[in-house]
């Protein structure tokens, strides 16, 4: 951590998703903060095809 001005402390550089560059708390796949290929929930669900379009609840 680095002090920017008296009384305030800057948080360490946030982890970022390796796909979309969004800041994340930890890698959604391995739950590690130090993951070199950290990925966010959105990107991993898309990558693993978990966000398929929902079919109609009722056909027709």
């Amino acid at each position: 951590m680095t002090t920017t001005r008296p009384g305030t402390v800057e948080e360490p550089t946030a982890l970022r998703c390796s796909d979309c560059d969004e800041p994340i708390a930890e890698c959604e796949l391995c739950d590690e903060r130090a993951c070199p290929r950290a990925i966010c929930y959105g990107c991993i669900t898309v990558a693993l095809s978990e966000t398929m379009a929902q079919p109609h609840a009722h056909g027709g």
């Binding site: 796949l29 391995c30 739950d31 990925i39 991993i44 978990e50 009722h58």
Partner: protein, 155 residues
Amino acid sequence: MGFSDVSDYVDGKVDWMAAGLPTEGTNVKRPRAGAVARSDSPTCRLDETLGSVRERVRAAGWNACVVVNAERVVLGLLREKELGGDPNQRIEQALRPGPSTFRPFVLVEELAHYMAEHDLPNAPITTSDGRLVGLITLEDAARVAHETHGPAAKS
């Protein structure tokens, strides 16, 4: 239309697949995480002690244990690091809470790729309401993914 026995699965097709239920179609032969996950993987409860759980897990030949409640909903995970902790510790203090889980319909080849990339030794597979289907190991996922794309898979 000639159908005599018709059911309406209200929660939808994706939920049906997420529960690991059988499907049809062009992708049906591609192995899914739910089929490769081991349903006999060890589980434990929050009120157990780490020492007794570790003994049971090791005896079963595993290095991970899924923490579940009475409804088999996943609460946490004990991997090698957590299992090596103080044997008198209660599981609720030792567990890795809220682990990332994956649905049974995820393609094994995709999951294996990401597990290898992230050095993830195992991952819980759950239904969409969080119930444990089983634990998939990187070893199993990589083997099945290799078989799918290997020479034997082309015949």
